[in-house]
Symmetry: C2
Subunit: 237 residues, 2 copies
DNA sequence: TAGATTGTTAATCGATTAACAATC
DNA sequence: TAGATTGTTAATCGATTAACAATC
């Protein structure tokens, strides 16, 4: 079944960066859709996202031909094409593990449902939470995970559990045959290569932001010496 | 004050990708700290994150010399050094705008506090929410934003507002002189260049995951033709 | 037709990896 | 000392940008 990973000559797998940008294009297309635009150029699509027009065209060309020379891209068509490419032209049932603050917020978050991601099963291993109802779903114990996931044909799981149980829960989820994990626990976890893992640590973007702000303020005040000389001069060995 | 953006010769600004990885190193260091390790090698630090040892050394070397040849990096020292680099060796007061499901979850999220990010002021423009208490803080109307932010020396704001009010709220926040914005609204917003913006759209990583899972399953079944021939053959013009 | 805009090639740029002398 | 591991250079690799013929 797995086999030799054939890689037919001439096929380049889509770079991770491209897939991320394609998601952004979809969001921008939806903005234009709401505004009633029929077509957009690559410049109009990339502009608000600070992405160059050549980049937009090259990214899209990766998946096929969607544009019309002299005209641009038809908003509705491109939007539908991107949904198909990303695999969100159909619903994805999801399992949510962990019903703390974050888990409950994720359960109610509208952004997932509007893209076809539906949470259909809840799990926790806290006895005080098991059996509780949220949005019409009953919290199941982790022991039931395998059976529920199999019968519900669930391929994706979101983990919103504490750091110290993240790896253990991940192992259980992998054992149940899940195909993809979205990990919200603020700790790195490891899974076997056939399972797809995406980590979402909410404090990382915040750290990035703090770094940027700190840096722009350093620039403004003592223009030049960033980080007290650490990298300000070329080190002479 | 702003001036000519001097760029002293010999100074390379840290690439965005490097800063992101440095945040990951910090998390992995904390794992080793909890396990009582005194030193780590670049291989040990990068391994669990699937980052090559050369990459780890190069990333860190960007900010200075932290390692000891033949020994590795001292866990405590490197951890402290990274905190200093990222600007999280001191507390950052934060304003949170929007107290829907996501906003309330962000308010209670432990991951921020443990990194020095403290939400100290809440805002909303829903009259039914203004005046409400959460975690000992009172929800203020947006009109009060400028005054509160100035008196509290708040430089960062988190936006957890609906898509259709995101840009308007961003404009207000910018006008109040905020230096950095973390945008959780699932829509692209634009801000002037002197304001730092980081967007966090929770459904993007989920889309990425769906794409990956879809792709590995395509590979498994009909090994070869991905996306029905779209890019399977080199197009001959 | 003239103007606009695509898909694609070639040129540039930056980021990752491998290798190794220097160091503990 | 021998073994380990750094910081750094050079080589590779991939990603971005500019430019332009083809197209509507």
């Amino acid at each position: 079944m797995k086999g030799s990973r054939p890689e037919p000559s001439g096929f380049k797998p889509a770079p991770k960066a491209v897939v991320g940008r394609v998601s952004l294009y979809l969001r921008q297309l939806e903005v234009y859709q709401r505004q009633g635009w029929a077509t957009v150029s690559s410049s109009q699509l990339g502009g608000p996202l600070s992405i160059k027009n050549a980049q937009v065209r090259k990214d899209l060309a990766f998946f096929g031909q969607f544009g019309h020379p002299g005209v641009g891209y038809r908003v509705d068509d491109l939007s539908a094409a991107i949904r198909h490419i990303l695999g969100i032209d159909h619903d994805w049932p999801l399992a949510l593990v962990g019903l703390g603050n974050l888990g409950r917020a994720l359960l109610k978050y509208r952004g997932f449902r509007s893209r076809g991601f539906h949470i259909v099963a809840l799990f926790d291993n806290d006895p005080t939470k098991i059996g509780g109802r949220h949005d019409g779903l009953v919290v199941e114990p982790m022991e039931a995970f395998g059976a529920v996931v199999t019968s519900g044909k669930i391929r994706l799981a979101m983990l919103a559990v504490p750091a110290d149980s993240a790896q253990r829960v991940a192992d259980q989820v992998v054992a149940a045959g899940i195909r993809g994990i979205l990990n919200f626990a603020p700790v790195p976890i490891t899974v076997p290569p056939q399972v797809n893992l995406v980590g979402v640590d909410l404090s990382i973007p915040l750290e990035n932001l703090a770094y940027k702000v700190q840096r722009t303020e350093d620039e403004d005040s003592c223009a030049g010496a960033i980080e007290r000389g650490a990298s300000a001069t070329d080190r002479v060995r």
